[in-house]
């Protein structure tokens, strides 16, 4: 185990150093990928080794940075789960990146990209296994900084610089809140190791516990991309290279969930009912708004990023229901809800990783992310199309893939709450059911749009017409995740019992094992049962049976390929097709209260007669509520302060030395007064 842990660290570190020192771009790409694959694979092995043996692995170096207890790593079940999550996505993204980053050769530094990618993965793998506050914060900040540099890879694009700015500001705001949460927690502890914090947390006053929880929700929520702290996410994730987008959306935002669970569930051992209600509220808001904004996007990668906001909302609904049930003493229900949340986090890692890689493959082939300029790619990129379709089915929560299983479990975990007699719980849960169902339906609509407009029908631009399939390495990366999407759904029974043992022991959660009725998933606390394996089998057998039946008995006189029927028009052009905007138009009108679409129509008439039109230009935009009404005032105020402080920044060293002396004198006076 220690050896594997060492291999993981060395793998990533080797990838980083070797990429930085590599002689040429090609070598840099391959060395980056080899480090990533070795590190990710070893990370997976560490996690599964822990699941198999249950032996905790602790590594400490108190001499390093001894003022704050030094560096300490400790692999426990919860950490191992998130470590596995990193490894699961890191390996395919590493393989994919080797081919994808070839497009950067000669334009951007591949040495820097490779080094940053491996450092990002290294710090991200070490966050969930950090054993004390210092290690956690160091790794957390390392993860944020390296991912900032990764977002900035395509620094020549003006959008990228802006996205990077948003990301840097939000992530450091989040860090400050997390830091405050840990400072409050550590108030009564001897050292800052998580084990000591856990014992100390029991003695904290309820007000302090509430404050710690709120700070943790805001701090970790900003990393997770929960509404209204999500504004950086649809900017930063699409700007990064696609395999990095995949890692950020699939894994990094999940570490926000990890942080929340570590603090809220592990260290604080749950709390009053309103904690859970708050998480459900934030989750529901994120789920609905995330999917509604995703529907309006024409940029493929931004659509995926908004959909990450939606899915993290679903995870929060699960986790929140868990906290709520825990506070009501319903342990099996809490177990079910928390496992469902974690299961959805795992599934989202697989399908969102896959979809971002697919979008990257589209971008690689056509150099555009605008769906209104894509189309017809299923013929030019058959493999990418197949993988993207699998990802779309999974994310839309359709059987028999993994997304369906976790959505089903989330539904199941809400039902016991509806029957609860505690005040206000039943209405909250009923609304959560509505939110969950609406989100599922809208996600299906959104991914019909994402797949249908991008891959089907006639190409809408020459770039889409002359697209080419991705190279083997990229196809392999996507293939691994596509298999994971199917496998994670079929293996629901072992996964749920595994998640049960991961969560057991935290906050008095007893280990519950699924009642295994053959292949049926029947959880204690759940009110229904379902077998993902048999549903999948039934679906495959039925579909294949119909196909064989039709071939045998109803072949008909054959098949003719002809033009699309078009009401008597002469020829079909791509301009007649439904576009991404058109597809979402009905929903834009249904939810006009939220979107407040602006309409700007300018018609250029023929000079001779107003009956003939030379050109029509139609523009419609939706109101960015959060940016305009929440962030704009804050940014304006910060800017005002910044301009104010400019007055004391003269640029003269003498002036700065004077400030130092004045500050020192001020401190001495304070000490003097306090001492007296």
């Amino acid at each position: 185990m220690t050896l594997l842990f060492g291999l993981m660290v060395t793998g990533y570190a080797f990838g980083a150093v070797a990429a930085a020192l590599s002689p040429n771009d090609r070598a840099a790409r391959l060395l980056t990928a080899s480090g990533t694959v070795v590190g990710g694979g070893a990370g997976l092995a560490v996690a599964f080794g822990h699941f198999a043996s249950g032996a905790p692995l602790a590594l400490e170096a108190p001499a390093l940075l001894s003022i704050a207890d030094g560096l300490a790593f400790r692999v426990d079940a919860l950490g191992a789960f998130f470590l596995a999550l990193v490894g699961l996505v890191a390996v395919p993204c590493g393989i994919y990146g080797a081919g994808y980053s070839a497009a950067y050769e000669g334009r951007y530094s591949l040495r820097f990209l490779g080094a940053m990618l491996n450092l990002f993965l290294l710090t991200m793998s070490l966050v969930p296994v950090a054993g004390n506050v210092l290690t956690f914060l160091l790794m957390w900040e390392g993860m944020s900084l390296t991912s900032y540099f990764l977002v900035m890879t395509e620094a020549n694009e003006p959008d990228t610089v802006q996205a990077g700015g948003w990301y840097l500001a939000m992530t450091h705001g989040g860090l400050a809140l997390v830091l405050a949460a840990f400072l409050l927690l550590a108030g009564g502890a001897a050292t800052t190791s998580f084990a000591d914090l856990r014992t100390a947390a029991a003695t904290l006053s309820p007000a302090t516990r509430n404050a710690v929880f709120l700070l943790a929700v805001l701090g970790f929520g900003s990393k997770a991309g929960i509404v209204p702290l999500h504004v950086w996410l649809p900017r930063a994730h699409p700007a990064a290279p696609s395999h990095v987008s995949a890692l950020m959306s699939a894994v990094m935002i999940k570490l926000g969930v990890y942080g929340l669970l570590r603090v809220g569930l592990d260290l604080l051992s749950g709390g009053p009912a309103w904690w859970g209600a708050l998480l459900i509220g934030l989750g529901g808001l994120s789920a609905v708004l995330g999917v509604l904004y995703a529907l309006m996007e024409n940029d493929l990668k931004r659509l995926l990023a908004y959909s990450s906001v939606e899915n993290i909302g679903l995870v929060f609904i699960g986790v929140g229901t868990g906290f709520l049930s825990l506070s009501l003493g319903a342990v099996p229900a809490a177990m079910l809800a928390l496992s469902a949340g974690l299961y959805h986090a795992l599934n989202h890692a697989a399908f969102k990783g896959l979809l971002f890689l697919g979008a990257g493959s589209v971008l690689h082939a056509t150099h555009t992310r605008d769906m209104n300029r894509l189309g017809g790619l299923i013929r030019r990129l058959p493999w990418t199309a197949l993988f993207f379709l699998i990802g779309s089915l999974a994310i839309a929560g359709l059987p028999p893939l993994n997304g369906f299983v976790s959505e089903w479990l989330l539904f199941q975990s809400l039902l016991p709450g509806i029957g609860s007699s505690a005040p206000l719980v039943a209405p909250l849960m009923t609304l959560a059911v509505g939110v969950l169902a609406l989100t599922g339906g809208l996600a299906a609509a959104g991914f019909v749009k994402a797949f249908g407009i991008t891959f089907l029908a006639i190409p809408r631009s020459p770039a889409a017409e002359h697209a080419h399939e991705a190279p083997g390495s990229m196809r392999m990366g996507m293939g691994i995740l596509a298999v994971a999407c199917a496998g994670l759904g079929l293996a629901a029974v072992p996964i749920m019992s595994g998640l049960g043992s991961i969560l057991a022991g935290h906050a008095g959660l007893a280990a519950t094992t699924p009642r295994l009725g053959g292949l049926s998933l029947s959880m204690p606390g759940a009110v229904g049962q379902m077998s993902p394996t048999l549903v999948a089998l039934g679906l495959v057998v039925a579909t294949a049976g119909v196909w064989i039946g039709v071939r045998l008995f109803a072949r008909g006189p054959g098949l003719r390929v002809d033009e699309t029927w078009g009401c008597g028009r002469i020829a079909q052009t791509p301009r007649m097709e439904y576009t991404s905007t058109a597809f979402a138009e009905p929903l834009r009108r249904v939810f006009a209260g939220l979107y407040r679409p602006t309409k700007d129509l300018s018609i250029d008439f023929h000079p001779e007669s107003r009956y003939f039109v030379q050109s029509i230009e139609y523009r419609s935009e939706i109101v960015p509520w959060f940016e305009r009404y929440l962030y704009a005032p804050v940014i304006a105020r910060v800017r005002w302060w910044a301009i104010g402080t400019r007055a004391i920044q003269s640029g003269s060293v003498h002036a700065y030395l004077t400030y130092l002396v004045l500050a020192l004198l001020g401190l001495l006076v304070v000490l003097l007064v306090q001492g007296a």
Partner: protein
């Protein structure tokens, strides 16, 4: 063993009866409108004819267009395995619950919408976009109606819901059940493309939803899609008939009770088909952008159903 045989027999019966239910609605509608109307078995003739006809596929269409009818039909067939049609409890009750049924039907809709986009025709895109909008907005109502039933039955599995209502016949008339029935009825109209949401008999492309989406299909592919749509209608009729009024459904699995089950099932279908026929004769199609209002009414009904089930447990 008898359970598995019944399971397959029930699915086969659903597939065989489905076109007849559509024919029955059409015949009743024609009679109500003072027309003679085609015989009830006309849809069977149409399907037989379509299976014999040549298939024309758009030159823009990909493999997905040809695969979609099989997925749509396959998912409809799978659904019939989980829906109580003749008897409960059956061995597949624990394999899939009501949520599985709903999401399997959504899988069919998903593929059909993609197939609508595939030929690049504006009508297909229009149909796909509208169908997905309506499907998405109907989803919350379905979930709430399911939960209203599950709350009193203690399970989302269909066999248990039916068994519970059988043992508590009074529950069938509880406000929770009645409200859930109304909510699910509106959703059934929306999901199966009936008036006032969609007009299955329309000839004008601009007002079509379901028909626009499948406009490019012909021959055996069209036959599969039409048949699957009929099965979907039958599934909703079975849910409405058997979940809310389970009387007649066989629990003993003896030949006599099964015979009674078949007869009551046919009677329930006739009543529901009559209701749809009267409704379609009496009311006109809603404007597309009035449909969300109707669906929000059904959502509120679902909400009330859950609330009253909760309060009156």
């Amino acid at each position: 063993m008898i359970g598995y045989v019944l399971e397959v027999a029930q699915a086969a019966l659903a597939l065989l009866l489905a076109p007849g239910v559509v024919g029955l609605i059409r015949w009743m509608k024609a009679r109500l409108q003072n027309r003679r109307g085609a015989p009830v078995w006309q849809p069977y003739r149409e399907l037989a004819k379509l299976f014999q006809k040549e298939v024309v596929v758009s030159n823009n269409a990909s493999w997905l267009f040809r695969a979609a009818p099989f997925v749509v039909f396959g998912s409809a067939v799978t659904v019939t395995l989980f829906v109580p049609i003749l008897a409960v409890p059956l061995p597949f009750d624990g394999v899939g619950d009501l949520l599985v049924v709903v999401y399997l039907l959504l899988l069919g809709t998903f593929f059909l919408s993609l197939a609508g986009l595939d030929p690049g025709s504006p009508f297909g895109g229009m149909g796909a976009s509208r169908e997905m909008t309506i499907a998405a907005l109907a989803e919350p109502t379905v979930a709430l109606a399911i939960f209203a039933l599950a709350l009193s039955a203690g399970s989302t599995n269909l066999g248990q819901i039916v068994a519970r209502t059988m043992s508590h016949p009074g529950a069938a008339l509880s406000p929770g059940h009645l409200l859930a029935f109304l909510a699910l009825f509106i959703v059934a109209l929306a999901e199966t493309g009936r008036l006032p949401i969609d007009n299955p008999a329309t000839h004008l492309e601009l007002t079509m939803i379901h028909e626009a989406m499948v406009l490019e299909y012909s021959g055996r592919y069209l036959a599969l899609i039409e048949w699957a749509a009929a099965v979907k209608l039958l599934v909703f009729f079975s849910l409405l008939g058997n979940l809310f009024v389970p009387a007649g459904i066989s629990m003993a699995l003896t030949p006599a009770t099964l015979a009674i089950a078949v007869v009551t099932l046919l009677a329930k279908f006739a009543v529901l088909a009559g209701a749809v026929a009267i409704l379609e004769t009496r009311i006109a199609k809603l404007r597309l952008f009035r449909v969300p209002e109707l669906l929000s009414v059904s959502f509120v009904l679902g909400l009330l159903a859950v609330t009253s089930s909760f309060l009156l447990r």
